[in-house]
Amino acid sequence: MANLKEIQRQIKSVSNTQKTTRAMKLVSTAKLRRAEELAKRSRLFAQKTNQVIAEIAGRIQCNKVGGIVNRCFIENDTPEMIDIIFVTADKGLCGGFNMQTIKAVKRLINEYKNKNVKIRIRGIGKKGIEFFNYNQVEMLDEVKNLSSAPDMQRAAEFMTRSINDFKEGIVDAVYIVYNGYKNVITQELHVNRILPANIGDYDCEATKNTTLELEAQDEEKMLDSLVTKYAEYNMYYALIDSVAAEHSARMQAMDAATNNAKEMVRSLKVSFNKARQEAITTELIEIISGVESMK
């Protein structure tokens, strides 16, 4: 029989943990709301950017002899070197959130390794970086403190290297892997190929009768700067989406922890009461037998 003091100590400890997890849940809920709002506002920009890019690229594709020549829009079936950029959280305590991304990255690495493709890994987020460092996987870049505070400027700077290397032909594809926000209780893993940009099919017939004047003397130049922005922006969006997902994952994990703690306190209380009753019974028996023996 565990003694009373020991059980009491455990109850106290568990309910303290419960207080912490509940507080963490509330913090995550508040942060999630902000992150969600940011992601929502930002999505509008994404839609329009994609529209403009698809339109211009599509028109060039349709109207220019030989189709589009910009490297950023041509499918490449036999890449020699690819960039994998992953985004994980800087902090743990959010369930399987980081591990899911890490597993997806590992899958992608194995897939391309089998095809003898060289891989450069660029990591954002402490948790993922720690994992790959521990497993002695070499990384090209390690960026911490960006995924917890997304910033367009820093995201763009980070992306510049991949974009330039892609344009120069050093890498043939750029992937971003991150765990995104779907709704408050689900996260969705994204493995997005950013470059070459996937603009989808473009309906040439539909545009024949409309006119679009491209003022920039050089269409290519315009596409070039657009594609840069497109890639930079996608990086930024991956970051904010990931933050929202991180908070929702943490919120869930902390909610589960709080419930567990509640359950544990309950069962500890039961055993505490049992122990208390037992102690009383023993004491009573002792008194009664003492009295009996005096008769």
Binding site: L38, R41, S42, L44, F45, K48, T49, Q51, V52, E55, I56, M152, T210, T211, L212, E213, L214, E215, A216, K221, M222, S225, L226, K229, Y233, Y236, Y237
Partner: protein
């Protein structure tokens, strides 16, 4: 009278969304104005000031550092990287937005001449507000 439907979007959210009588944009080739029924056009913008003439005649200025504008029919979509609207309830607010705008321009300006031109435009836009 016909109006334009104008949207100014940045990665962190829309900065202007609503009707406008006309809008003046800092194109790569120079400043140009857009009125309703403008021809369909897509072009790059450089750092500068976007002047929006609202329905009530008030002019609102937004400083941008880079952008693309897509005009089709009466819809004008301006996609920009960073933008600061010159507006505010009082002088203090306006002064703050001017400072923000200037630091935005400084962060990308490659020539002093351009910096000076845009700064002057910011000043005059602010002056109109007061």
């Amino acid at each position: 009278m016909e109006t334009l439907q104008l949207e100014v979007l940045t990665p962190s959210g829309p900065i202007y969304n609503g009707p406008a009588k006309s809008v003046t944009l800092p194109g790569e080739e120079g400043e140009f104005g857009v009125l309703p029924e403008h021809v369909a056009l897509t072009t790059l913008l450089q750092a500068g000031v976007v002047d929006i003439q609202k329905e009530n005649g008030v002019i609102e200025s937004i400083v941008v550092n880079w952008g693309v504008v897509q005009i089709s029919g009466n819809n004008v979509v301006v996609l920009v990287d960073g933008a600061v609207a010159i507006r505010g309830e009082n002088e203090g607010d306006i002064a703050r937005s001017i400072a923000e705008a200037q630091s935005l321009i400084k962060s990308i300006a490659d020539s002093n001449a351009m910096l000076a031109t845009v700064s002057a435009r910011i000043e005059s836009a602010a002056h109109n507000l007061l």
